[in-house]
């Protein structure tokens, strides 16, 4: 009982509206920021100003050095996202299907989730060294829990009738996973992936921030050390742009996998 075709013709029109409004929002925010900085309402020492930030980004792009840093950070974030999501999914599924185990481990998982990762930095360095893997581990500890909790809940929310029906048709546990639980929990999983994309980047940057010699987090931390707010913000803008790119990827996959939706 979903929407009939009528709306179809207006799709492109709607998209234009959306894009226009997005640009408008961006322009208003940036203009306000620039004006605020120019008029002294926003202290450029803390906030820099959009034109300066844009200038910094252009410089970086022309110098080209930024790509190396960006690539490192991206690599860390993507690895954290992939490994964290895979582990979260796996453990989430396992525990959702083994309620006794879930009940036993429940307090431990919640305790681990509450550990401040920043404090664990020395241990991460100890185990994973100063290379990308300590940053991946950082991101992992964020992504894992987010994906885990949602996968777990998503699988427990699956309609009983669907499960019973599939079982009566002969589905074994693994087949149930593939044909019933996973597709049914997909919207849960993707919801957590959208949050995770951001957190994977945050994990990578914070990891770099705590010890590194390259990556956007390193750039930002150097800039902070010398009070170069412009470079700090430029680094964050670059990151944000990258996040949007990754999220477009996630969104594509989501749309493909959920193509059966109304």
């Amino acid at each position: 009982m979903s929407a009939p075709t009528r709306k179809r013709t207006s799709t492109t029109k709607r998209q234009i509206t959306v894009r226009a409004a997005q640009v408008a929002v961006g322009v208003v925010v940036l203009a306000g920021w620039e004006l605020g900085a120019a008029s002294g309402v926003l202290d450029p020492f803390f906030f820099s100003r959009p034109t300066a930030i844009a200038g910094q980004i252009v410089t970086w792009l022309t110098e080209g050095d930024i790509f190396r840093h960006l690539w490192i950070t991206l690599e860390e974030a993507m690895l954290a996202l992939l490994i964290g999501a895979a582990a979260g999914l796996g453990v989430g599924f396992l525990l959702a299907r083994a309620p006794l185990l879930a009940e036993i481990l429940d307090p431990y998982i919640k305790m681990l989730n509450a550990l401040p990762r920043v404090v664990l930095a020395p241990i991460f360095l100890l185990w994973f060294g100063l290379g990308i893997w300590s940053k991946v581990a950082f991101g992992f500890t964020l992504v894992f829990f987010i994906v885990f909790f949602n996968t777990y809940s998503g699988i427990r929310e699956v309609n009983r009738v669907l499960v019973d029906n599939a079982r009566m048709l002969g589905a074994k546990e693994g087949q149930l996973l593939r044909h019933v639980f996973l597709p049914s929990a997909l919207s849960w999983i993707f919801s957590s992936l959208h949050v995770s994309v951001g957190f994977a980047i945050v994990g990578a940057v914070v990891g770099e921030y705590l010890g590194s010699s390259e990556g956007i987090g390193f750039l930002i931390s150097q800039a902070e050390g010398v009070f170069d707010t412009t470079a700090v913000f430029a680094g964050m803008v670059v990151l944000s742009a990258v996040v949007l790119l990754i999220d477009v990827g996630v969104h594509r996959v989501e749309r493909y996998l959920l193509r059966w939706r109304a």
Binding site: L130, S213, V226, F227
Partner: protein, 317 residues
């Protein structure tokens, strides 16, 4: 740890942009490590404590950090030795916020005040305690407030979120630039010999240095010697050039915030940099004295200060 093969030296810095560690980066920029035949990889660990932990965990070979940590490590039975000194004065500036909640004209006025330190348990924290005690107060009379070492510290001072703070450069210079020197009251400035003599009662007080595990030193004497030589040359460079000239040799990002301030901060710090890379035993004892006073663990341990540093690797000149 990774990549220690091929003669690579992994050098962890407790906050690369901090001026106190400048010679480490400068030596790299000037190519001195390479000229010594070393392949040095600089890793910024953000804080001295993190850098030390990285050393203990084996992710770096050598640390550019504060000398105090070698004493703390001896108390923990993890012998570490500083083998070249970079800074002979601690270079802390004890400044009063223009918006302090009450008038503060001397250390005595700090009773009950909130005083910013980079982080609790850091050298700035010990410096604060030391100052309080030296001026007849109890170490706990002022509340230490962690404010970090960068823009947060500047913001906290500007807005009067702390009454005073123990600051480092370039944060201090930045603060002065932003609110004007006349608005910043300085209770103590240990960037100069005068300040160090007056406030610490010594002529030298080793601060930043290169150190490493004692066993690494015995195993890699040549590397240590080369590192010390490179640092010594960087120190020479600093003393023989103007602040602006030195700034020009540092990574361009470091001047990006405000080139003038950066050069000026270097200029102001010059006299604090060691002329010869040596660590004075008298200064080392002074550091130990402070630590012993405020850390029960160190007070209780048997410390042999002479094992915490060595000048054997520093070129005679």
């Amino acid at each position: 740890g990774s990549g220690s093969g091929g003669g690579e030296v992994r050098l962890g810095i407790g906050g690369q942009p901090l001026l106190v560690f400048m010679p480490t980066t400068l030596a790299d920029r000037l190519g001195y490590y390479r000229e010594e035949g070393l392949n040095v990889r600089l890793e910024d660990l953000g804080s001295g404590a993190k850098a030390l932990q990285a050393l203990q965990g084996g992710s770096v070979d050598v640390v550019s950090g504060y000398y105090d940590h070698t004493i703390q490590m001896q108390a923990k039975n993890r012998p570490t030795t500083a083998f070249v000194g970079m800074l002979r004065y601690p270079s802390f500036v004890f400044a009063v916020s223009p918006k302090a909640s009450k008038p503060i004209n001397s250390f005595a006025d700090l009773k009950g005040a909130k005083v910013g330190v980079t982080s609790p348990g850091s050298s700035t924290d010990f410096f604060l305690k030391n100052m309080l005690v030296r001026h007849g107060l109890a170490a706990t009379d002022a509340a230490p407030q962690a404010i970090g070492g960068d823009a947060s510290a500047v913001a906290a001072m500007e807005n009067g979120q702390v009454d005073a703070a123990v600051m480092l450069d370039p944060a201090y210079s930045t603060l002065v630039k932003r609110i004007g020197g006349q608005n910043v009251k300085v209770l103590s400035d240990t960037r100069t010999l005068d300040g160090v003599q007056r406030d610490l009662g010594v002529t030298s007080y080793p601060a930043s240095a290169l150190y490493s595990g004692s066993s690494w030193l015995t195993d890699n004497p040549e590397t240590a010697r080369k590192l010390a030589r490179a640092i010594k040359r960087a120190l020479d460079f600093i003393h023989s050039h103007s602040g602006a000239e030195v700034a020009a040799k540092m990574p361009p990002e470091y001047s990006a915030g405000d080139a003038a301030i950066y050069a000026q901060a270097i200029e102001a710090a010059k006299s604090a940099f060691s002329p010869d890379g040596r660590i004075s035993p008298e200064g080392a004892e002074a550091v130990y004295g402070v630590l012993r006073q405020f850390t029960p663990e160190i007070a209780n341990a048997k410390i042999d200060v002479s094992k915490t540093f060595t000048n054997d690797y520093v070129p005679a000149n």
